[in-house]
């Protein structure tokens, strides 16, 4: 499957899962609101340009926003993590050639610890910015901190399960192939 088709399917799939599964389940608590849709941005190929990345993130965020009737609320954090992703990848990818030899970030291409550092940092940034925007509109500091950390914990758990269940096959690409 080509990378383009794969990513289009992922886009639709993540939006549907977020809207019809994660936003529908009765919450454990009203301060816990798990999000995994932004994994789409994390899973985009290494070679995606910065501007393309940000535009795709904007589209993803807006798409979710149109379903939850909050234009801009999810788009803003998505653009932010898309902007930060290249910096983090530059810092975290240690050995030479990862970006050339593998297609996209995953446990296999980056190694467990660097990949999960990437996930944790971007999830934290996403949640913090999202709930900050929410808190600015109608709630206080307490709401912001508690909701960010509770949701972060549950989201990370879900992401870990997703990574373990759906192992993405990464081919080691060489110049000869």
């Amino acid at each position: 499957m080509s990378s383009l088709v794969k990513n289009i399917i992922r886009f639709i799939f993540f939006i549907l899962v977020q809207v019809f599964v994660l936003n529908q389940i009765p919450p454990l608590h009203h301060l816990i609101n798990p999000y995994i849709y932004f994994l789409f941005i994390l899973w985009l190929p290494f070679k995606t340009g910065r501007r393309t990345l940000m535009v795709l993130a904007l589209l993803l965020g807006l798409c979710l926003d149109f379903f939850t009737k909050t234009p801009g609320l999810h788009a803003a954090p998505c653009v932010l993590i898309a902007f930060l992703r290249p910096f983090l990848i530059n810092v975290l990818v240690s050995h030479e050639g990862t970006e050339a030899n593998y297609e996209e970030p995953s446990i296999k291409s980056m190694g467990f610890v660097p990949y999960f550092t990437l996930v944790v940092v971007l999830t934290l940034v996403h949640h913090a910015f999202l709930f900050l925007l929410e808190a600015l509109q109608f709630a206080g500091v307490w709401y912001f901190f508690v909701k960010t950390f509770l949701s972060l914990a549950i989201s990370l758990l879900l992401i870990l399960i997703v990574e373990l269940l759906f192992v993405r096959k990464q081919r080691f690409r060489t110049n000869t192939a």
Binding site: N23, P27, G61, F67, G72, L73, A76, L133, Q137, Y143
Partner: protein, 284 residues
């Protein structure tokens, strides 16, 4: 000039990021004022279709609960039929004046329109319900919405040609004028974030409120007639610093299981509105 161009080229990614962020935040903070500005009407038409597809499946799983609530609604309506009431003494008749005078004629004030719920959220910080009934089917903005058993659900805030979006009671900006049924004390119902729970503020401490008291619409706004159930009191919180109590209410409508709603159209709302406008003008 050359430096400016160089600066822009060097920091183009960052500037692009700032522009996109600005765009997002502009939309976010302007949404409540200009719905049209952010293509929401167009988007509702498309999300409506997706929600409809999903609801076609989901609806089957909720048929039992929907059926039960409709049976209850029927029971309530049967009890209101004229057939249920008899005049005890047949010799004493009610006399109806047969001369038609305009002021005695009945006219319709509220028109109920049923609508299917196709999208519903309960877990978000601001919850909306999407209905498959729009401008073409007679829905306009600012109409009240009830569930099948006449419990208040929310207010229509946006309509496209075939779908409409309802701000449910579980929305931070929702504000419904309400009364305690027993004492008639008026207050306003808002939401503080707990699912299926709303709060009623502005009740003086002198009023005796017990758990289980019902709270109904006040009839002061043109959206809802008097006496529709909003919820029942579950907790009374006495605020030490003020002269009023805050009541926690369990909503009468169960937002987790809502498949059909009734939209109430107040056909006589123009006249009082114009009167109010006139009064405001003379005061200015």
């Amino acid at each position: 000039m050359r430096n400016i161009v160089l600066f822009i080229r060097r920091y183009f990614n960052f500037l692009f990021f700032l522009i996109l962020q600005g765009f997002c935040l502009y939309m976010l903070f302007n949404y409540n004022r200009f719905h049209q500005a952010v293509f929401m009407n167009v988007a509702n038409e498309y999300t409506g279709r997706v929600f409809k597809q999903f609801n076609d499946v989901e609806y089957y799983f909720k048929l039992k609960k929907t059926n039960d609530s409709l049976v209850k609604a029927n029971e309530r309506l049967y009890n209101k039929l004229k057939l249920d009431f008899e005049i005890p003494d047949t010799i004493n008749k009610f006399v109806v004046d047969s001369i038609k005078i305009d002021s005695l004629e009945k006219y319709r004030k509220f028109l109920y329109m049923q609508a299917k719920v196709i999208g519903n959220s309960v877990t978000l910080p601001n919850n909306y319900i999407q209905l498959s009934r729009g401008i073409q089917q007679g829905v306009t903005k600012d109409l009240g919405v009830l569930d099948a058993n006449s419990a208040v659900v929310g207010t229509v805030i946006d309509v496209s040609s075939n779908y409409s979006v309802v701000m449910s009671l579980m929305h931070r900006q929702s504000n419904v004028s309400a009364k305690l049924k027993k004492s008639g004390q008026e207050g306003s119902v808002t939401w503080d974030g707990q699912p299926n729970e709303v709060i009623l503020k502005g009740i003086p401490k002198s009023i005796v409120v017990k758990k289980g008291d019902s709270v109904v619409t006040s009839g002061f706004t043109d959206r809802f007639p008097y006496g529709l159930l909003i919820g029942t009191v579950t907790d009374v919180i006495i605020e030490k610093s003020s002269n009023s109590v805050t009541l926690k209410l369990k909503t009468a409508a169960d937002f987790y299981n809502i498949q059909f709603v009734n939209i109430i159209n107040n056909l006589k709302k123009e006249e009082p509105q114009q009167l109010l406008k006139k009064v405001k003008k003379t005061n200015e």
